[in-house]
Symmetry: C2
Subunit: 263 residues, 2 copies
């Protein structure tokens, strides 16, 4: 479990099955955790500004402003107005994509599977109540998607490096609507050829309660307005931060430091 989140309880939680999308509202400063429950599952992610959905998370502005094509720890994610929308504050995988479009009906027609569930329609359905339709789904960030770039610019989709319970945590930098779909792609290795469920949780980013002086009294901070969804709001079993550095990805050990959180 995340160092940032290990003593907190989510104020919103969603369980997302392959082919489904879910939208959550977040206030500036809140934290969004996106987790693959079985591993090797891609989460397509888009976001809009609350109350002004003409502003949206832009992968091209994010690439340009960061000078990098890979979403990674510490990176700010920018809107089409070049305003910060999120910061990546935790990442247990280190390998994600912001080059690919959502899978859509024609993608599956081309693969000989017309009528297949797809991320673009799932996100449009999740955002319908905000008046955001199919045409307005932006280029997503595809958390956990493992895309390799070859010598001549060729893209190759590989199995995700994400293992069971791996996750990213984003801090919202403004009030946003975030939407996530669990990619149902089972015809190519996008999801290890076996799409599985995601969990999405929103946490307040408040300072933890002061230490009570006794270790056994340190309990989870509970929020009065917590409205857990189908995902149990209890925290998952803590596991140590990992550190891998492979030819394919840098995986960061995430350590909570005093200066890393606002007072």
């Amino acid at each position: 479990m995340s160092d940032l989140l290990s003593e907190k309880t989510p104020i919103r939680a969603r369980h997302i099955r392959p082919g489904q999308g879910q939208a959550v509202e977040m206030k500036s400063g809140e934290l969004l955790q996106i987790q693959t429950l079985q591993g090797k599952q891609v989460a397509d992610f888009v976001a809009f500004t609350q109350g002004d959905t003409n502003e949206y998370l832009s992968t091209s502005v994010t690439r340009a402003t960061n000078g990098n094509i890979v979403p990674q720890l510490g990176m700010t994610l920018y809107s089409n107005r070049r305003q910060g929308m999120f910061e990546i504050v935790e990442d247990t995988v280190g390998r994600h994509d912001m080059l690919y479009a959502c899978c859509d009906p024609i993608r599956y027609e081309n693969l000989g599977a017309p009528g297949h569930a797809n991320c673009r329609e799932a996100l449009a359905e999740a955002l319908e109540s905000y008046g955001i339709g199919y045409d307005r789904i932006p280029s997503p960030i595809n958390w956990f998607m493992n895309v390799s770039i070859q010598q001549r610019g060729e893209l190759e989709i590989r199995e995700p490096l994400a293992e069971k319970d791996d996750y990213v945590v984003l801090r919202a930098l403004k009030d946003v609507i975030a939407a996530v779909s669990a990619c149902p792609q089972d015809l190519v290795p996008t999801n290890g050829s076996n799409p599985t469920d995601l969990a999405v949780r929103v946490y307040r980013d408040e300072p933890l309660p002061p230490p009570p002086g006794k270790e056994d009294q340190q309990e989870s901070a509970e929020y009065a307005d917590a409205v857990p969804g189908p995902v149990a709001a209890t925290n998952l079993t803590p596991r140590p931060a990992r550190l891998r550095d492979t030819a394919e990805a840098t995986v960061y050990r995430v350590e909570r430091v005093d200066t890393g959180m606002p007072d």
Copy 2:
């Protein structure tokens, strides 16, 4: 001069100065030539479907459907509905970008040059009469932009490989509104640190007149409704197709073949 275009006269032409944008309408089958007149000049390019501007050229769908991040000869450019909008039918450079966002006011603020001319506002101005504003400018294709990707995904902007009079030619696959801006970036090497002018010309893609039997009677096909803009409609001096294959780019020799054009 292009083999495809060498015997034709443009039906529309635009001269674009750095920081300016121009929109042109094209019918399905027409050809769009985008040319750097002095070399090393980037052309930011966006497009929408005529009469239904919720459909637009999508770089992420184009990358995903082609499985490649580099626009190149023979590639189809797709819309956000995964419909073909253009085919790249000629390319004398072989090095372009579809990763970067347009430069915009905040980009120049960050570079210490507030108020600098920029592509995003130039394109929005060019598209204003179609009701397409600043927020709706999609991620562009940046013709002639030379972006290198490093080991960890870092992007590096280099001088364009395009030399004087280099160009691309796109065939429209549906009726479109295309808009081009001449990037005014003079603070980094995007345009060789010296932005210069572009020419944009639209040609009909009609079969050439049948050979008259005598070579000296083969003259340029003139179209009654040709309305040349500020760019002289006379063709530029023909130059031989080039062929380079470097570590950075593949440059194709373009040869007209009988099967390459509709009858």
